[in-house]
C-alpha cells in the first residue's frame, strides 16, 4: 500500500502533500514525517489532503498530533481538502471546527494564517 509524502516550501509555509491511504499501517510514516518537519523548525505547515484515498481515525490522530505539536511552538497547521468523503470524516469527528480547511494550497498559503 502506497503512502506518498511530498514536502515543498511555499511563501513561508511548509506544504506536506499526502497521497494514498492513511490507516494504521501507513500512519506511522506520516506521523514521523510531521514530527521531523516540526523538529526541523517548520512550524507553519499546510497538509494537502487532496490526494488522499482513505483516511480513518488513525490519520485524524496524526493530524491532531501535528496541530498540537506546531501550536506548542506558536505555529499553525492548516488543511487543504475539497473531497467530500474526507470532509465528512472531519465533520463527524468535530475537526472542521479545530482545523482551518482551505480549498487549495494557493488559498492556504495566501491567506495569512499562522
Amino acid at each position: 500500500m502506497d503512502l506518498g509524502l511530498d514536502v515543498t516550501e511555499r511563501d513561508g509555509y511548509t506544504v506536506l502533500a499526502v497521497r494514498g491511504e492513511v490507516d494504521v499501517y501507513t500512519a506511522p510514516r506520516f506521523r514521523e514525517r510531521l514530527i521531523e518537519l516540526v523538529s526541523e523548525g517548520k512550524h507553519r505547515i499546510v497538509i494537502d489532503l487532496e490526494g488522499v484515498d482513505f483516511l480513518d481515525s488513525t490519520g485524524l490522530g496524526v493530524l491532531v498530533g501535528g496541530l498540537k505539536r506546531v501550536r506548542s511552538h506558536d505555529g499553525d497547521l492548516a488543511l487543504v481538502c475539497t473531497q467530500r468523503r474526507i470532509l465528512k470524516v472531519l465533520e463527524i469527528t468535530g475537526l472542521t471546527k479545530v482545523f482551518t480547511i482551505h480549498e487549495s494550497v494557493d488559498a492556504a498559503v495566501g491567506d495569512g494564517q499562522g
Binding site: V24, Y25, S57, R85, V89
Partner: protein, 151 residues
C-alpha cells in the same frame, strides 16, 4: 438468499487494507448501497480492525504461539449487508469503551462507527468478541423476491 464471504487476516496493521478491499468489493455486488455508503463501511471496517489490532498488541501473545487473527464474516443479504468481525479477548473495547475515552483517536473512532453504519453491536463469543456492523440497503433498489442476483 444470503451469501457469505469469510475472510481471516493476521491481526497486524498491514492487513487492514485487505479487509477494506474485500468488503468494499463485496458491498458493490448487489444494488442498494451507494458508493458513498460503501466508503463509509470501509472506514468502519478499518476502525474495527484497527481497534482490535491495537488492543491485541498490548496483550500477551497467545499460549500456542500462533499470531492472533481477525475473522470477518460478511453476510450479503438482499436487504442488509452485515460484516461481523471476530477477534480474541476484549478486542473492541476501544470502540465500545465502558467509560469516557481518554485519547482523541478513540473519540474519533467511536464517532465514526456510530455515524457511518446503520447498526453496530458488540457481542461476546466463546473465542472473544464480535462486532456486528449492519448496513440497510436502499429499499428502492432491493428486489421484491429478495434475490436480485442473476443465476
Amino acid at each position: 438468499m444470503d451469501r457469505v464471504v469469510e475472510l481471516e487476516i493476521p491481526a497486524r496493521p498491514e492487513f487492514v487494507g485487505v479487509a477494506r478491499m474485500a468488503v468494499g468489493a463485496l458491498a458493490g455486488i448487489r444494488p442498494g448501497l451507494a458508493y458513498e455508503r460503501i466508503d463509509d463501511l470501509r472506514i468502519v471496517v478499518s476502525e474495527a480492525c484497527t481497534s482490535a489490532i491495537e488492543m491485541l498488541a498490548h496483550q500477551p501473545p497467545p499460549a500456542d504461539g500462533r499470531p492472533a487473527g481477525l475473522r470477518l464474516r460478511c453476510i450479503d443479504g438482499p436487504k442488509t449487508l452485515e460484516v461481523r468481525i471476530e477477534a480474541p479477548g476484549s478486542a473492541f473495547d476501544s470502540a465500545f469503551p465502558a467509560s469516557e475515552p481518554e485519547a482523541d483517536v478513540d473519540t474519533f473512532r467511536i464517532s465514526l462507527i456510530r455515524a457511518l453504519v446503520d447498526d453496530a453491536e458488540l457481542r461476546t463469543t466463546p473465542g472473544g468478541a464480535e462486532l456486528c456492523l449492519t448496513l440497510h440497503r436502499d429499499a428502492a433498489a432491493v428486489d421484491v423476491d429478495g434475490d436480485d442476483l442473476p443465476g
